[in-house]
Every structure is written in structure tokens, then in C-alpha cells.
Symmetry: C2
Subunit: 283 residues, 2 copies
């Protein structure tokens, strides 16, 4: 392991290893942490990689401690990367003022506006810098990557997956913000990060992107019907409508009684892992 | 639901419900919380009950958020009860001074010494008060209870299971303190809670109890060989020796590379749940 990443923790789990690394991100201009699960198979062969993107307020810890992902990753032989949700410790004005903007709320965009533009470039971080780092240090099966996430991270997974179909062969999401340009969370963040020209926002709106992409990766989306953010922030019917209009393949499942928590994610993560394993040739 | 318990949270998980309740404990003289997982089967039939006892510093939250238990409980149709690890908020002198005595460190004993004796009665709480409450409010299959736990809670599960074989038909533990009368954690706690007559401590020492019980429930114990507490606090070889001397049935598995964390617990919880399900007639 070359010294551009530092091992923070390393714990055996389901026959593999759950690790956390720290590194200096040139794209974000700060020190970042990310989780890596190495399945038992990674000891002897190259494995496909899944990127998990978390939601508002999360760090790299939430998914790796609460979702129960390691059992499935070990079953299918998938390396799972869990980045943080924003730059950290950049000391920008307003960075710590609210839970839905700044720290913990990077929204997986490249900010163009002051003071954010110098650091808040989570899109490039997830699409380029982190995969390059991962490919250097872990036994990655070239060309076999998938992406999934939750809430703000579900938005990130859809947007990044839809814009980079050659890079990500499988896409899924839990309770994603499917139309950030139309809902309060997204409009607040995009106005701050991207400015007041709303046309610039569309490159980060999954409902817009499905209407304008030619490559088509089947999407799996789960949404709890007792999710408190469903009607105002998530609005899966907008994605359903957009996909329907252009014939984009979408499996949208409304899960009765489920909320926005990791109890919901854990309940259906097995289906998502099976979806990715199948698309990545590991099932 | 009669008003002696209050629902704190209720979240759908693996087709059932992960709940947290609050109640006034007469035994402990304080307000306590406990987790309850109700599997889908509990909607239509009585189900066996498993008690999970957590380790030092834990609340009812650690197990229900990190272990991945709900998937197995739903598979086998088991209700899982996760109590807190000590009385809370009793304002006893010294209660908050250290992480291995007082709050978060009840050690599942009935304290006899001042100032603890008036509140620190976790043995009676887990053996009597909580099961009676549970039986009142949930669809319990009479006579089909199991118990398991981790570290201090593994000690609790072994001691409570061994002393109450008619009540608990299945017993298992992760990295338990098997001989609290011989190790620093146990000696500190027992001296404070039980006084300086060490003969009084033996009723809470699993290695002593296996030598003096007539009923024999097969024990399943997992222990990581990279557990930082292994040599000084846990010492599973003492349990192996005691069981060997009297022919008590023990399956002790040393798991290579695993530590003391919930990553270890999650990795082998499936085996424990299968063990309990089999002993409780649900596999």
C-alpha cells in the first residue's frame, strides 16, 4: 500500500475485511475517509466493485455499521466502497450551519459558486478520483462497477450512474431524491452550489437524465410508503413518469410500512445486492 | 397495550417490526428501555422469545442497529428482546465515574452493597420482571425462551441460562466473560456490587455454575482470536476446562482474525440464531 492512503481501521467480517482508509483528496482539497469491504474472494482474485453513496448527515460509517452489506458482499464476491458525503473541515463560511447544506450534504455535484466551488466537487470525487485510487490499491475487476445509494446518495447513484453508463454497469437506489430541481432539499443545495441558472441544475437531475440518455441500465428503486420525506422531497412518481415517457427500464417498488431508516435499507439490501451481482456477472 | 409500557419507536424491518419501549421498572427503580423485534409470524401466532444481553457501555440500541438480527428472527419466527445494560439515571454516587461500573455496566447481578443495592438488580430484571412484562404484551409461545449475549452480556446469558434451565431452553454467547470472579472486569464489579465475600460471587460465575448444574443445555460460544480482551478478561479456556471436567456440552469456536466488535457478532449471528431456532423447535 503506497502512502497516499492510510489505514484507519481493519476488522474481519464475514470472512473478509471491513476497512476504513483516510487519504488526501486533491479534488476536494481536504482529508477524506472511505469504507472498503474486501470479500474473501479478493484474497485470490479480482472482484467487481460497488459504490454506496450515503444520505444527508452521514459519514462513511453509517452504511458499513448498519446495513448488513458485508454478508451479501461476501456471498457474491463484491468489493464495496462507501465514501463520505461531503468534504470535511474546509472551514468555509456557512459550512456547518445546516444539516442539508455544506458538511454532510455534498449532493454529489461539482459546485460552481463561491465559497463552495473550491472544495465541494463530490461528483468528480466519486466518478474519477476515488475509483482511480481504489483501482490502484485493491484487486478490481476492470470494467465491472456498480453504484447504489440512499436518499441524497440515491440521487447521487442515479445521476452518476446515468451519466456514466460505460463506467457503472448496474444502478439502484433506496428512497432517492429523483428530481432535486423540483424539491426543497435539491433546490436549496443546487442554488447554493450551482447558482441561479436552473438550466445548469439539470445535469444533476435523474428525472431529466433518463429522458436524455441513450445507454439504458435497468434501475431498481425501493421506496417506503411510510417515509416521512416521500411526498415533499423524494417523489418517486416523477421518476416513474419520466421513465414511462421514454421507455427507460425501471423497477420501482413501494414497500408498505417502511420508513427512511437503515431498517428499511437492511430489509431490501439483499435484493439490491443480487441485482448488482447479476448485472456484474457474479450471481 | 396497557399503559405500563410506552412505545418509543416502531419501524418496519424484514416484514416485521423493530420497536423500542419504555417502562417504569419496579425492580430497578427507574425508567428503562428495551428493544423488541416482532417477526412477521407474530402477527398470526405465538412465537418463541430470544433475550439478547449487550456488553459494557451499550444501550438497547447497539444490538438492534448493528447486528443484523432481524433477518434471522424473521426467517425463524423469533421474537427478540434487547434490554438495556444497567439502570439509568438513578443518581447514585460514582454511577457515572467509569465505563465498567455503574451506568452501562450492570453485570446482570443483584447488588447487595450500598449504594448499588437499591437499583442495580439486573439479574432479577432479566429473569423475572422483563419476561413477565413481555408475556403480557406480546404473543409469546409459553416455555420457549432462549438467551444469548456479548461480552458482559455473554456472561449474563451464560449465568442466567445456567441458573434457569427450565426458563431458558437455549443458550449461546459471543466473547463472554466466562469467569468474572477471576478477571479484572468481574472482580471490580463484583466487589462493588456484591461485597468482599468472594463466595457470594460464585452464583454469577459461569465456570462455577457449569460445575454445579444438573440440567444441561448445550452451549454455543464464539470467540475471536484477535479480540483485545481475550487474554485478560474473557479467557474462554477456563470455560472449556470447566465443561471438560464435568462433561458439560460446549461448542467453543475460536474465530481467526475476528475482534470484539459487532462486525464479529454479525458474522456469526446466523449460526447462533440457527442454534436457538433448533433448540426452540423453529428450524
Amino acid at each position: 500500500m503506497t502512502p497516499d492512503v492510510t489505514l484507519v481501521s481493519n476488522q474481519r467480517c464475514f470472512g473478509g475485511w471491513q476497512r476504513v482508509y483516510e487519504h488526501r483528496s486533491a479534488v476536494l482539497g481536504c482529508t477524506m475517509r472511505f469504507g472498503v469491504y474486501l470479500p474473501p474472494q479478493a484474497a485470490t482474485q479480482a472482484c467487481p466493485v460497488l459504490y454506496w453513496l450515503s444520505g444527508l448527515t452521514c459519514t462513511e460509517q453509517n452504511f458499513i455499521t448498519k446495513a448488513g452489506s458485508q454478508m451479501y458482499a461476501a456471498r457474491y464476491g463484491l468489493i464495496v466502497i462507501a465514501p463520505d458525503t461531503s468534504p470535511r473541515g474546509c472551514n468555509l463560511p456557512g459550512e456547518e450551519d445546516s444539516w442539508d447544506l455544506g458538511t454532510g450534504a455534498g449532493f454529489y455535484v461539482n459546485a460552481t459558486q463561491s465559497p463552495w466551488a473550491s472544495h465541494y466537487r463530490m461528483y468528480d470525487y466519486v466518478v474519477s478520483e476515488l475509483p482511480a485510487l481504489v483501482a490502484t490499491h485493491f484487486p478490481i475487476a476492470a470494467g465491472r462497477q456498480g453504484i447504489l445509494g440512499h436518499s441524497m446518495g440515491g440521487h447521487g447513484a442515479l445521476v452518476i450512474g446515468l451519466r456514466n453508463p460505460d463506467q457503472f454497469r448496474s444502478i439502484s437506489a433506496f428512497a432517492p431524491i429523483v428530481a432535486p430541481t423540483q424539491v426543497p432539499w435539491g433546490r436549496k443545495a443546487f442554488a447554493a452550489y450551482l447558482g441561479d441558472q436552473e438550466a445548469d441544475w439539470l445535469a444533476y437531475d435523474a428525472c431529466h437524465l433518463v429522458r436524455h440518455t441513450t445507454e439504458r441500465r435497468p434501475l431498481l428503486v425501493d421506496q417506503g410508503d411510510k417515509d416521512g420525506f416521500l411526498g415533499q422531497q423524494l417523489r418517486p412518481e416523477l421518476l416513474e413518469q419520466a421513465c414511462s415517457e421514454v421507455g427507460y427500464p425501471l423497477t420501482l417498488r413501494l414497500q408498505m410500512g417502511y420508513d427512511h431508516s437503515y431498517y428499511f435499507i437492511a430489509s431490501f439490501l439483499g435484493d439490491h445486492m443480487a441485482h448488482h451481482a447479476a448485472m456484474l456477472g457474479m450471481s
